[in-house]
């Protein structure tokens, strides 16, 4: 009987401890380690001692880069491809749990990265000393590795010159049920783009574009012209997609233009322009749109505060800026290395300097402060 009682007591203690201690353990964010300057050779030596590096990335091409890195340095890489919000959730949860996960991340969605991962100290910025003079200063904090552009692309089969020259066309009933755009709630950078449209700078330009399209001033029913445009395109039966690849195929498949009034058009990553040859599609960017032809976002390399292999991680970050490290992305159009010495696909692409003035850029701080409001607004029109 005593045994039984003891058992029961022990069990209840264990049970109580399960309920009790769980929530009390506050996550302690490790302070960002002091970055010690060391020579490149020393970094390589230390990295090799560590022998391994774990990376989370929102780009699937990380796997190729990883094998190139392993081939070059003999350091094993465990890479995983996550979606933007999964990566944010994962890094935050792991940091709070004190679990050692990634050594560094290659991630997108500037707004949330800054506000939810860098500010609490889960991730910190590291610029390889060898790159301080190579990468443009504006791209160093947080460190951008690549820029990726999403552009208005139309089906150019038997079409001379772009039929699309002003973003307000997509709000015009003549062009209803036409524009395809991936659900901004599915990919943070799309929501960031819409958020940027509501900034003072871009909403002024959008108002200007309205005037040049309709020949009169815009009448506002919402806070500014950016919101007005968002409302108008969704009310004009924008087609919400689930993947840029699928949108590219839907837009580009040949034989559609003959049956339709307006050539199909979508706002999606320019890297899909390659399908024009590899999948025999008809895809062409509309590069003379008023006031923008699309937007761009960046992939950021950020160190984990809890990295188990910090030197290998730093070496990998540096490697991503080299020609070999960029190759998995550079083998295709639509990705632009922050190291301007890395080449682009000249047959089909343009230097980033050509694109940049045509595109809306992503301002992490502005997005983090305003995106929730824009999402709230979108809710009313997107569904």
């Amino acid at each position: 009987m005593k045994k039984l009682l003891a058992c029961a007591l022990l069990t209840s203690c264990m049970v109580a401890s399960v309920f009790a201690t769980g929530s009390k353990e506050e996550p302690v964010a490790a302070p960002a380690p002091v970055i010690e300057e060391m020579s490149h050779d020393e970094l390589v030596a230390r990295a090799k001692e560590e022998g391994k590096v774990v990376v989370y990335a929102t780009s699937s091409r990380i796997a190729k880069a990883a094998s190139a890195f392993t081939a070059l340095y003999g350091i094993e890489v465990e890479s995983s491809n996550l979606k933007d919000f999964e990566l944010i959730e994962k890094v935050a949860k792991e940091a709070q749990a004190g679990v050692v996960g990634s050594d560094f991340v290659l991630a997108q969605d500037a707004g949330r990265l800054v506000g939810e991962l860098i500010e609490p100290g889960y991730l910190y910025n590291y610029v390889p000393p060898t790159l301080k003079d190579v990468v443009p200063v504006a791209m160093q904090n947080p460190l951008q590795v690549f820029a990726i552009n999403k552009v208005f692309i139309y089906n150019d089969e038997n079409v001379e010159g772009s039929p699309y020259t002003n973003i307000w066309q997509f709000a015009d009933p003549k062009y209803a049920s036409l524009l395809q755009f991936k659900n901004p709630f599915q990919e943070g950078v799309n929501a960031n783009f819409l958020t940027m449209c509501t900034s003072d700078e871009w909403s002024a330009k959008i108002a200007q574009a309205y005037k040049s399209y309709y020949g009169k001033d815009i009448v506002l029913t919402t806070p500014n012209a950016g919101y007005e445009w968002i409302k108008a395109i969704y009310n004009n039966d924008l087609i919400v997609g689930t993947s840029d690849t699928t949108i590219a195929e839907n837009v580009g498949i040949k034989g559609q233009n003959a049956k339709r009034e307006n050539p199909p058009v979508g706002l999606f990553v320019y890297s899909k322009a390659r399908y024009a040859t590899s999948k025999n599609l008809a895809l062409k960017p509309a590069m003379e749109m008023e006031p923008f032809s699309g937007f761009y976002y960046s992939l950021y390399a950020l160190m984990s505060s809890s990295a188990a292999h910090p030197h290998a991680a730093k070496l990998f970050i540096e490697f991503l800026f080299s020609e070999a490290g960029f190759a998995p992305w550079g083998a295709d159009c639509g990705t632009y290395s922050a190291n301007p010495n890395n080449p682009i696909q000249e047959d089909i692409d343009f230097p980033f300097a050509t694109w940049q003035p045509l595109l809306v850029e992503e301002d992490g701080a502005f997005c983090f402060d305003n995106r929730a409001e824009v999402e709230e607004f979108l809710n009313q029109y997107i569904y």
């Binding site: 069990t11 399960v18 979606k83 749990a97 943070g188 498949i253 983090f368």
Partner: protein, 600 residues
């Protein structure tokens, strides 16, 4: 009652293994289901890190913000909650009707008529349930897509030249059809089980009294099937209510939103508080349906069906309709169960979408080394290490989960049946069923935050394989415990008592007497968690880490990226594995999933 006799009572209570099992289950399941429920409730009232700037309160503080926004904020509430909620109810209700109509009709024809090809029909009819539901949605799009989204026209339009209407191609209609077909096997299994096991004497007696077919159906068959109809309704309603992928794929082109699609984006986006409210509401509705079901069914007196009496049922003679009806049913089955598989196989060999000429065929996506210009140099699936890892993990996970859920479910069934009518047993019974009512995605999200930190003697499980195992085992316990309870209720008590009188120990009684007698039902209780696990997505999607990735999460990733060839190939792989596993187990032991849910 004196202290001594109370102690004696306690002693004899504790001596019986089924009491100990009940208490352990009560504590463990209470912890694993009620704590998540509490966490959900707390989460709806607290400020999350992504919302702090917007709500303008510190993270973790108390707020009514989410409740206010969801229910009392004009257009916002209308669009984020009320409309999706209404859509969800409509979808779930119509899907139930569809599933019961189709599944019930097939069940009746197979068990009660002299239709041909019964073996083929009952094997193939469960295919749509084995396939991940959203793959049927993909197949629907392959066939019926129209020019609204552009791209290659659907096969239907190619062959007939008729352009499908928007309402036919996207939104409510296809969602209901696809979900209805996906869950029809449920109705088939539940209703068929009753029809098959029902005492033929009842109908024979009616026949002797010169009742006609219609009277027999109305007065005898339907009342007997009624509990199965209600159970089906309950199960299908909760399942379709919490289904995510089908509405995501078919609803999105016309922006048809349901609660789960809203929940997905809020849980993963900036407003998790909204998502938890939706999860809570779905749980409340689920519990409501469960209670309604129990209230309507009441407590049936006898469940015993293994009685040794004759159960030869006179089959309804279809006469002239026999062959035509067989052809119709087989054709329908081929269309919903085989054709999608064929289309997956076909699509996985095609380079440019919509072009089925021979020159467009390629084995790139199966055995290629990966081309940079197609899909970011992803190697073909047979050469792809991450797919092999996913496959290993999926198999490992499904086997472990099915062993745990199956065994626990069997023990639960044994103990619940033994103590039927007692409060403890009723509680444990409800607790084992509760996980079924939790929307998978919310369940995953809760376990994620619950076990992210160390809890007493349980270490932080984040990113570990065991977290997946726990979630899977709890979530699929209802399947196993249902079949466990059914198996035990069918078994009359004397059999075990005989063993007890002979002085045989409990363990031996279980393994030598009870298990062998109800072997097929118990094994079915292992099979269902296995199959469900193999094709589950939303439960695990938030919990996998690189080293624990599984096939379905890979499949969804490929789907989302639009790399349909890879997705189709993996899909085919999952279906082939599950179907062959089911067939092997069926051949070896006689168990099959259609026996799993049994007769309750």
């Amino acid at each position: 009652m004196s202290a001594k006799s109370r102690l004696n009572n306690f002693k004899s209570f504790i001596k019986k293994p089924h009491n100990i099992i009940l208490i352990v289950l009560f504590v463990v399941l209470g912890y694993l289901t009620l704590v998540p429920l509490m966490t959900i409730i707390v989460d709806t009232f607290s400020v999350h890190s992504s919302e702090a700037r917007f709500v303008k309160q510190p993270v973790g503080s108390f707020t009514l913000y989410h409740w206010n926004k969801m229910f009392a904020s004009g257009v916002t509430s209308q669009k984020t909650f009320y409309e999706p909620f209404l859509n969800t109810m409509v979808v779930a209700f119509l899907s139930c009707v569809m599933a019961i109509a189709v599944g019930g009709f097939f069940a009746w024809t197979v068990t009660r008529t002299n239709i041909r090809c019964k073996g083929f029909i009952s094997t193939v009819f469960v295919f749509p349930y084995i396939m991940p539901a959203w793959t049927l949605a993909m197949a629907w799009l392959n066939f019926f897509r129209n020019s609204r989204v552009g791209g290659a026209p659907g096969l239907f339009t190619v062959f007939t030249g008729i352009e499908t209407a928007n309402w036919f191609a996207y939104g409510l209609f296809p969602i209901v059809i696809v979900q209805g077909l996906h869950y029809a096997p449920f109705a088939y299994i539940l209703i068929g089980g009753i029809l098959r096991n029902m005492d033929a004497n009842l109908e024979e007696a009616a026949m002797l009294l010169h009742a006609n077919r219609w009277q027999i159906t109305r007065k005898i068959t339907l009342p007997i099937v009624k509990p199965a109809l209600l159970s089906t309704f309950l199960l299908v309603f909760s399942s379709t209510m919490s289904a995510f992928a089908v509405p995501a794929f078919l609803g999105s082109p016309v922006r048809y939103q349901v609660l789960t699609t809203q929940m997905f984006r809020t849980l993963n986006g900036m407003n998790p508080g909204y998502g938890y409210i939706m999860a809570l509401i779905m749980i409340v509705i689920g519990v409501g349906i469960l209670m309604l079901n129990q209230w309507i069914t009441g407590r049936r007196k006898s469940y015993t069906t293994i009685t040794g009496k004759s159960s030869n049922i006179s089959l309804f003679n279809l006469r002239k309709a026999r062959t035509p009806l067989t052809i119709v049913l087989v054709t329908v089955l081929v269309m919903v169960a085989i054709l999608p598989l064929f289309s997956f196989a076909l699509e996985s060999f095609i380079m440019a979408p919509g072009n089925y000429s021979f020159s467009n065929f390629t084995t790139e996506f199966w055995i290629g080394a990966g081309r940079a210009d197609i899909a970011n140099s992803e190697p073909g699936i047979l050469r792809n290490p991450s797919i092999w890892l996913g496959l290993t993990n999926s198999l490992k996970l499904s086997v472990i989960v099915s062993l745990i859920a199956g065994t626990v479910g069997m023990l639960a069934g044994y103990s619940i049946a033994k103590r039927r009518g007692s409060k403890l047993s009723t509680w444990v019974n409800n607790l084992t069923f509760f996980p079924y009512l939790m929307p998978s995605m919310a369940f995953g999200a809760i376990f994620l935050s619950m076990f992210a930190v160390r809890r007493g003697f349980i270490p932080a499980l984040y990113g570990s394989f065991w977290l997946l195992v726990i979630v899977g085992s709890v979530k699929y316990l209802p399947f196993a415990s249902r079949s466990g309870i059914n198996a035990m209720l069918q078994l009359s008590g004397e059999i075990e008592e005989a063993g007890t009188i002979m002085g045989i120990g409990w363990f031996k009684r279980m393994t030598r007497i009870i298990f062998p007698i109800q072997k097929t039902t118990f094994i079915s209780g292992y099979l269902l968690p296995f199959i469900s696990c193999m094709r589950e997505l939303s439960l695990f999607i938030l919990l996998v880490s690189p080293s624990t990735r599984i096939l379905t999460t890979l499949l969804f990733q490929y789907n989302e990226k639009g790399w349909n060839q890879y997705a189709n190939a993996i899909n085919l792989m999952i279906v082939v594995i599950v179907v062959s596993f089911n067939l092997i187990v069926n051949k070896l032991t006689g168990a099959s999933i259609d026996k799993g849910i049994g007769t309750n």
